[in-house]
């Protein structure tokens, strides 16, 4: 094979010496045109110097014994660039073009869809956290109400209720609201300067349950109060807790439905855009196929390219979503704003699960891009074959 290669090389030299000046990169502007081909086996005259005198050449179909020598001249040889010391080539470009309009558009589509999916995940996570926090808070705090009447010593009943509550297993803290705090609670309805001694206003004991304490603790407390403080009534806020829990479940269901829609839209958009990008590079698939590349090589090249594209777009979109939530959670502290604004932007605060969700959707988008490119290239190859 080496010998064959050498022969081909020698013969190519003899042929290309006669190529037009422009074709040889501007060498030898005055090179005359070559004589017509008259090799052995041709019609007409026998081989002449114009085709290169070829020692030992045989009829068509045979091999050439000696090297093809160009018509003559050392000058001709000088016209061919010496190749003894090969030039260093520039770094090779990727086989799959990466800077096309389609590729840039695909990065943009992936980034935008990942950002939207990330925002949705963050919002759902935030709503879930807030709802859980509200439900938990309201479930942890209960109230004992002491109603005045029938010569009841309200202060003594309050003290007894506090002591019964504190003695109950699972109660973290119990505290009676004093008169000023009770007056403050009623101020929006009855005005300031209220004298509670003249009004049959119920008094309250705020009971905080220990973390994890639930219905059995409340049952035990209710039972103990019934025995020891008959005038006391335990309000476990069950009605409010159930309403809040129901609201939270509805909000979560809506959030998950929106997340499902956004995730589906993201996957479809990314898949369609990726398929379009692969189709735009169909000529590359065809050429690789035709120069003898194995299908696995072609698929690998495209997969690698589209994984890079997917990760790039997902990193931009996911990073932007994370940045938004980070800013949302830290901006209030930068400006030392009051609690109302803190509460307003508090919805943008997400926990590690939320950030994990955004990371997960970014990885999912990159994988969808890669797998879509893989299936599309295989489909294209099946079409070509």
């Amino acid at each position: 094979m080496t010998e064959k290669r050498s022969r081909i090389s020698s013969m190519l030299v003899s042929v290309t010496r006669r190529l037009p000046t422009r074709a040889r990169g501007g060498e030898s502007a005055g090179t005359p045109p070559a004589a017509p081909v008259r090799a052995s086996g041709e019609k007409g005259a026998p081989a002449t110097s114009g085709a290169g005198a070829r020692a030992g050449s045989k009829a068509a179909g045979s091999t050439v014994a000696g090297p093809a020598v160009a018509g003559s001249a050392p000058a001709g040889a000088a016209a061919v660039r010496p190749v003894a010391a090969p030039l260093r080539s520039a770094p090779q470009r990727p086989i799959v073009p990466g800077t096309t309009v389609t590729a840039r558009a695909l990065v943009a589509v992936i980034a935008i869809m990942t950002f939207l999916a990330g925002i949705t995940i963050g919002a759902v996570s935030s709503v879930s956290n807030v709802a859980a926090e509200w439900t938990s808070d309201i479930a942890r705090e209960t109230t004992i109400q002491i109603r005045p009447g029938d010569g009841l010593d309200v202060e003594a009943a309050l003290a007894k209720a506090v002591s019964v509550a504190r003695a109950t297993q699972g109660v973290a803290n119990a505290r009676a609201l004093d008169e000023s705090e009770t007056a403050a609670l009623l101020e929006p309805w009855l005005g300031a300067g209220l004298d509670l001694a003249n009004l049959p206003v119920p008094r309250l004991v705020v009971v905080n349950l220990a973390p994890g304490a639930g219905a059995p603790v409340l049952a035990a407390l209710r039972s103990a109060l019934a025995e020891q403080v008959p005038s006391a009534m335990l309000d476990d806020h069950r009605q409010w807790a159930e309403r809040l829990s129901s609201t939270a479940r509805t909000a979560m269901a809506i959030g998950l439905a929106v997340l499902g829609l956004v995730a589906t839209a993201t996957v479809l958009c990314v898949a369609v855009a990726t398929r379009a990008a692969v189709d735009a590079a169909r000529s590359v698939v065809e050429v690789l196929h035709l120069v003898g590349a194995r299908d696995t090589f072609i698929v690998s090249e495209f997969q690698h390219h589209f994984l890079t594209v997917g990760l790039k777009g997902a990193a931009i979109g996911g990073g932007a979503a994370v940045a938004l939530f980070l800013l949302g959670s830290t901006i209030p502290s930068w400006f030392a704003v009051d609690r109302s604004i803190d509460t307003l932007v508090g919805a943008l605060t997400i926990d590690l699960r939320g950030y994990g969700g955004i990371f997960g959707v970014s990885v999912l988008v990159a994988l969808v891009t890669t797998l879509t490119s893989r299936t599309t290239v295989y489909r294209t190859l099946r079409g070509i074959g």
């Binding site: 013969m11 290309t16 190529l19 060498e27 190749v83 800077t99 299908d295």
Partner: protein, 219 residues
């Protein structure tokens, strides 16, 4: 080397575009494939290049039944065949050097192992000064030679050329023919598809004439 026996081909449910085609390509041979436009030259080339499967008949290439080749075996056989497309099929985002090196690159070879070889071949086909140029900047003749170099870099045993002189002037066409003749004399079997009678008259070679899907061989 290549053997077609009663090969027929139809696209979908359409009429047969090739009918009962029987011929062979012996080692170290040179032949023209000719016929009017639309006669089936390119289809026959695609069958030879294993990018089409016949509807009927037997194609044997390098002793292998083409119908029984899987994708990897087809790719491996295709590496033993060089093809020059009428429209060159150069990748516009790769330089001339990278286009010519592509058949070696897809074999998984390191660039350092073939760099000198590719540069050498590019100098020999007169593109030494154009190796870092992108194809859109090349002239038609330069593209043709780049396509030929790409077909040759893998040292094929058969070279197929589809209208290789269709986009060049008569002078360059003669020189390209000489290039193919020299390759043939080095031992490569060459098949040139052309409808250029003038080109075929320059060399007394075997002719495969295809007309209305039927092939006639004139040895």
């Amino acid at each position: 080397m290549v053997r077609f026996e009663n090969v027929g081909l139809r696209y979908g449910m359409g009429p047969e575009v090739l009918r009962d085609v029987t011929f062979g390509i012996p080692p170290h041979s040179f032949q023209f494939l000719t016929g009017p436009s639309g006669a089936g030259k390119t289809t026959l080339l695609r069958l030879l290049f294993l990018s089409l499967r016949p509807t009927r008949g037997l194609i044997t290439i390098f002793g292998r039944d083409a119908a029984k080749l899987d994708a990897d075996a087809t790719a491996a056989l295709r590496q033993r065949i060089g093809i020059v497309f009428q429209d060159f099929r150069l990748l516009d985002h790769l330089s001339t050097y990278e286009n010519v090196a592509l058949p070696l690159r897809v074999q998984g070879r390191e660039e350092a192992s073939y760099r000198a070889e590719v540069q050498e071949l590019l100098h020999w086909v007169g593109l030494g000064e154009r190796m870092h140029v992108l194809p859109p900047v090349l002239s038609g003749g330069e593209k043709q030679r780049a396509a030929i170099a790409r077909a040759l870099i893998g040292r094929p045993e058969i070279l197929l050329a589809d209208e290789p002189t269709g986009n060049v002037d008569p002078s360059l066409a003669r020189r390209l023919l000489r290039l193919f003749l020299e390759l043939h004399k080095s031992g490569t079997s060459v098949l040139i598809a052309t409808h250029d009678i003038g080109l075929m008259d320059q060399f007394d070679a075997r002719r495969l004439v295809i007309n209305q899907g039927r092939l006639t061989v004139y040895d």
